[in-house]
Symmetry: C2
Subunit: 758 residues, 2 copies
């Protein structure tokens, strides 16, 4: 099967680089000192009978984190990082993720609990593994790398070749070529990426096979790692032979099931090998890789890319390893695994030749400079073994004073990093914070998620056959289309609310300055707000809190409102405090008070210093990707200071409240304060009623209330509704400046999937 020429002739370089990538990563939950915990899999991670991302491998302590398949490695790595952040932030305070493949600080074997899965067969299989291999060997962790070529590539190659008549046979041959060549040359990847040079002595029941101060490249890939008995040999020459030999070992009882065959390459896409005869191999799983402790997620993006280039190379080269070649490859793997990682490998020349060919391939297919650079960096490591991952790990183990200590140090750093950015998903921080929070909950609880459009915050969620779409965190099928259209239009909103009997400030609309001013008599002496019909930024609004007393002031305010819209409204002004009620279904889930930007004096610091100190709060940033915004000290703030007889250099008295803004928007540095528990229930019920009148499932209701402790009465002096908002903000409730956090995104998940066990 020679494909290089076909790829060249048909200019398939780009298609050849397309593929689907998925990563599974095992690791141990550990204590602060790096020793493996004996606690149960955390309940926060929902139910393992369906969880697509967070599973347990062999043991209850052994997390298995699984990315969905992605078209790019970048996306796969973003998923991997995200799942890590979800897990690290959900673990108990005293638990961490161990960053290396070989477990350290193992408890006595009888205290290791196999994963307590719902299916009794799954538990029984693990108990069998304990019997066959001992529990410790099963505790070894690693990275499994799943790869599928673009089906379009396979179709195109099949059409361009004339060796195979059947598409399925061609596809099987293609993937088998990849599998065999991979097994033949896998030692190259081991040399470059192995990272299990040692382990603490208690890992070995019968004493360590390592001499004092001996390091190897990979204990995990050596005979002391996680391998089948040496006699278990399965042929990759063809699918019929593969099926025959694999079924032989199962039928003879040497393997309890096909999945007990631990090859570094697994054929995937069917439950039983025999099915490949009909359906073809769908993708391959490469299981060779040690965790890279320098990477919080266990694997570096450049290394993942290098593995992809290596996979392509195994197809690009004209040779296809035969059975003997595979055996040679497996033998070399064992030899290279046992080499000193700080020394050159005995097979360096073969490695260098292979990587030179890889560079040649990358240039031919137009993979770009950065790809060539990655390959060149790896090529250089044959001459300089101290650059290999294994050698670097040895250095750090020695510096840290031991394997477990090195791992524990890194585990604490990685967890702290995840906690520091608790309000976001670092890899998806281009998306809105509320969507990030929802994604966190979705990943934690185990709904299948597809990001349909990142820029548009569009998600597809699935549980079983039940599919829901979500845009902007809470726009879903649970709302009817007419609800946001009503809420978008303030006039219509007021009419609908008034008709339903809620306290709505009276208002009149005008389409010309003249018309508004002619109606001045209707408003004289009344407290009114004059505002454009449509604006969400507070522009063009004038408030006559004490009542409008002359026609000229009124006309001026009308004129200002007309600058923003071609229709304006004059409405009753309500005295009291504005609260935002977040309603979902039949319940007010959160009540928030928004306070204009402010600082409190300490008798020593200047206003500028107080602002700087307040701005240091971790939640404050530019406001687009942080829950709160830094207080500015621009013209508006300085004018506000001036009205209080202050400048930025004034030193306010201890306890003196200094206003920096008149408006309470969070987007201009305001504080968000949760008042859910303080608010009298009668107002919460009103907000629910208002939401129902809007026909909405999710609604942000703004009420003006003079006294939140007094029960609501049926009069505008007791309360009034000033706005109902669709797609209401959630971040300010989830991460308020003060008061209790309300995890509204989880309520959205529960609304969408009431059947989900959480």
């Amino acid at each position: 099967m020679k494909l290089q020429q076909i790829i060249k002739n048909n200019r398939l370089g780009l298609l050849f680089q397309q593929g689907t990538f998925g990563i599974e990563k095992e690791s141990q939950r550990v204590h602060q000192d790096g020793s493996v915990v004996t606690t149960a899999h955390p309940k926060a991670f929902g139910n393992r009978s369906f969880h697509p991302y967070i599973q347990t491998d062999f043991a209850e302590s052994q997390l298995e984190l699984i990315t969905p398949p992605n078209k790019t490695l970048e996306d796969t790595m973003r998923w991997l990082q995200t799942i890590h952040e979800v897990v690290l932030r959900s673990l108990p305070g005293d638990e961490y993720i161990f960053p290396m493949s070989m477990p350290a600080g193992l408890p006595p074997e009888n205290e290791i609990k196999v994963a307590q899965l719902d299916n009794p067969e799954d538990v029984a299989y693990r108990e069998h593994l304990v019997e066959s291999y001992g529990a410790y060997k099963q505790m070894v962790s690693g990275i499994h790398y799943n790869f599928q070529f673009s089906p379009e590539l396979i179709d195109t190659l099949f059409a361009a070749q004339n060796e195979y008549q059947s598409a399925v046979e061609f596809q099987n041959a293609l993937y088998l070529k990849l599998a065999k060549n991979f097994l033949r040359y896998q030692w190259v990847l081991l040399y470059l990426l192995a990272a299990t040079p040692t382990v603490d002595a208690n890992y070995f029941k019968d004493g360590s096979p390592l001499k004092p101060n001996q390091y190897v490249r990979s204990l995990r890939s050596s005979q002391y790692g996680y391998v089948n008995a040496p006699e278990i040999k399965v042929s990759f020459d063809s699918i019929p032979q593969y099926v025959e030999t694999l079924e032989h070992w199962v039928n003879s009882g040497k393997l309890i099931a096909e999945k007990e065959f631990y090859s570094n390459v697994r054929l995937r896409g069917a439950k039983k090998a025999r099915e490949f005869l009909e359906t073809g191999i769908q993708y391959l799983e490469f299981r060779l890789f040690d965790l890279n402790p320098f990477e919080p997620n266990g694997i570096a993006l450049d290394d993942a890319k290098f593995i992809h280039y290596f996979i392509m190379l195994m197809i690009w080269i004209d040779e296809t390893a035969d059975g003997d070649g595979v055996e040679i490859g497996k033998a070399r793997l064992a030899e290279v695994a046992w080499e000193d990682p700080r020394q050159p490998t005995q097979y360096a020349i073969e490695g260098e030749m292979l990587l030179s060919e890889m560079i040649n391939m990358l240039e031919m297919i137009g993979a770009g400079e950065s790809a060539v650079e990655i390959a060149e960096d790896k090529l250089a490591m044959f001459a300089e073994p101290q650059l290999t991952l294994g050698a670097r790990v040895v250095d750090e183990i020695e510096k840290a004073g031991g394997y477990q200590a090195f791992g524990a140090n890194l585990a604490r750093v990685y967890k702290q990093n995840a906690l520091d950015t608790f309000y976001m998903l670092t890899a998806f921080n281009n998306m809105e914070l509320s969507t990030q929070a929802l994604m966190f909950d979705v990943i934690q609880k185990g709904l299948k998620m597809e990001i349909l459009d990142e820029n548009d915050q569009f998600l597809r969620l699935q549980f079983g056959d039940h599919v829901e779409y979500v845009k902007n965190g809470n726009m879903t099928s649970y709302d009817s289309y007419i609800s946001p259209l009503i809420m978008e239009n303030k006039v219509v909103t007021k009419k609908v609310l008034a008709e339903a009997g809620f306290n709505v400030p009276q208002s009149r609309e005008f389409t010309s300055l003249e018309q508004a001013v002619a109606n001045y008599a209707l408003f004289e002496g009344k407290a009114v707000v004059i505002k454009p019909k449509s604006t969400n930024f507070g522009l063009g609004i004038t408030i006559f809190q004490q009542g409008v007393t002359n026609r000229e002031d009124f006309a001026k305010a009308v004129e200002i409102a007309f600058r923003e819209d071609k229709e304006i409204m004059v409405e009753d002004y309500l005295v009291g405090t504005e609260y935002r009620f977040f309603v979902l279904g039949d319940q007010t889930l959160a009540v928030l008070l928004r306070v204009p930007a402010n600082v409190t004096g300490d008798g020593k610091s200047t206003v500028a210093e107080l602002v700087a100190a307040k701005n240091a709060h971790p939640l404050r940033g530019d406001g687009s990707r942080t829950p709160l915004k830094k207080i500015a000290l621009g013209d508006i703030e300085q004018l506000q200071l001036k009205e209080q007889g202050l400048t930025v250099d004034s030193v306010p008295a201890d306890g003196q409240l200094v206003q920096l803004r008149a408006n309470s928007n969070i987007s201009t540095g305001g504080d968000s304060i949760d008042m859910t528990d303080e608010m009298h229930d009668s107002y919460k019920q009103l907000a629910v009623g208002i939401t129902k009148a809007m026909g909405a499932a999710v609604c942000g209701v703004d009420l003006i209330i003079p006294d939140l402790k007094k029960p609501a009465e049926n009069s505008l002096s007791s309360w009034g509704v000033i706005e109902a908002n669709f797609n209401p903000m959630m971040m300010m409730h989830i991460f308020p400046y003060a008061g209790k956090s309300r995890r509204l995104t989880l309520d959205v998940v529960k609304m969408l999937f009431p059947e989900l066990p959480v």
Copy 2:
């Protein structure tokens, strides 16, 4: 009860002018010659047991058109005009609306069928009227004018006076003052607005009381009109006296029910007069007015305004007529009714004094110049009786050669006018055509409708307790919020449709020119469309119908697309014709072919002449308020001509098709051709399935189909879906250039109110 001073002192001039106005207008359905029909009330007008706008009065032939209450007379008149347009366009081809109060060409009395209402009591009441008055008298028609002062005014006046302790008593006294003063001075309105100077002789069983060539001001308001027996006198001095006297006549059997009391002022707001003691009079109904034949709707806006000023004047003047005053007023009414309309009235001095006081009032309350002008015009009519409506009607009757002929001529003109603008509601032509069409259907079938926001095309519809909101003709609660959000995003739409198994052209998105060009190899040789991710105007789109063959052309097209959006798409180009499927629920209701702007030669006319001829089509206009758009002859059209070797001055051969545009948009002069019956059912089913996949209730699906007669197959060469649109256009289906009209708005009504009997 003196209110003038209170209004002045409290500057209530504007509030005094506020009110609520409703008009009921009776008229006879007639034949082309003006003779009254004997056909049943048309089934098109739905069910009279609930219809709020289109009822029958006494006889089956006697339409009663009812506007809802409005805050301005302008809106009331818009409603009245609209209901007329609905009725005129729904009548059988040979039926018209007679524009005058006295019926002409009456059938024999025994052929007049009383209104066949569902409630047997209503029918029995009418049969009683026939017995008491004869059927002919009941056939007389007129305008009833309903008026309510602003409740805010009444509250303010009540607070400012000290004559009444109870708000209900004050309100009753206010409306009774209005009623009594109206009855005292109503002759003034009769003098100015009466329009029943004569009638054909057969109206009178015992011969006409009119001498040859005698005309009077108002037969309808004379003893020969529609009046109670002379002894039926009811006191308006107070509500208790009103109740006592009215109940006396009912109890004594002189009246069969309170509603048989035909005063020119009726107290309204309760089923029985006795209830006014508790609830107060809510509004008054003034029943004095003859139909104005010069007005298609029976009343002129300026006259309606004048009546309003007259009503205000009846409150403004300090006097309140007593029982004797009311009797004087009724006597004068009878006298003035019998005067020659071309002669001055004997009471001219009283009339002029009253109108001078009205002008004084209008100036005091700031009603504006136009109001004063209306009053001045009427004032002048006391000196010049030939300007009165009655005198003008006499002139026209003489010109037409008879009463019936005059009425029949106008009836035909008014109907033709309504038919000429069949695609719109003239009074609401500021709104979208599709919303106008929906409003037409809603009014025809008798749903209660409130226009919540005209600019926003926002309607509130109600049947019984069932309320639905509609925006832009078909945006309703029947669609879920996520559906339009999915359809708004082409990428998400394609993903969802592909996942559901529909034939979707493959496409790739790019965010940079470089990235797109680097992937050129994927597209080489393929027929592709390159377009911005979001655009609805066809901008930035390039099509390589024969396949893209070089990188430079590809790069140029990509660059053009990036001018319109920051993301672009490259997708498969489908060969075939694009059809728009309009789907509602489980059914494809319409299929439309859009053909680029074109003309067909006749061997004689130039292109410019052919275009002018085609543009003369009644449906073609500027496109914003017409179903089709005129073909332009701008740069693009001339370029298109040039490609065919033509200019605007060329004379195409007979039958030669001349393309004026490449794109098929209706908005650039394209033709809309209904293909619903031609399209193979399998494609209609596909469109329904696509709609369901979008989760939508109403959807416009664009399919590309090479052969609409061949059943759909599961391949892109048989069909492909290129777009799914929320809030799809309806006008092009309702009023296509060619083919059958599909009344989709009626289907929307049926969807919203499946319980509505239509």
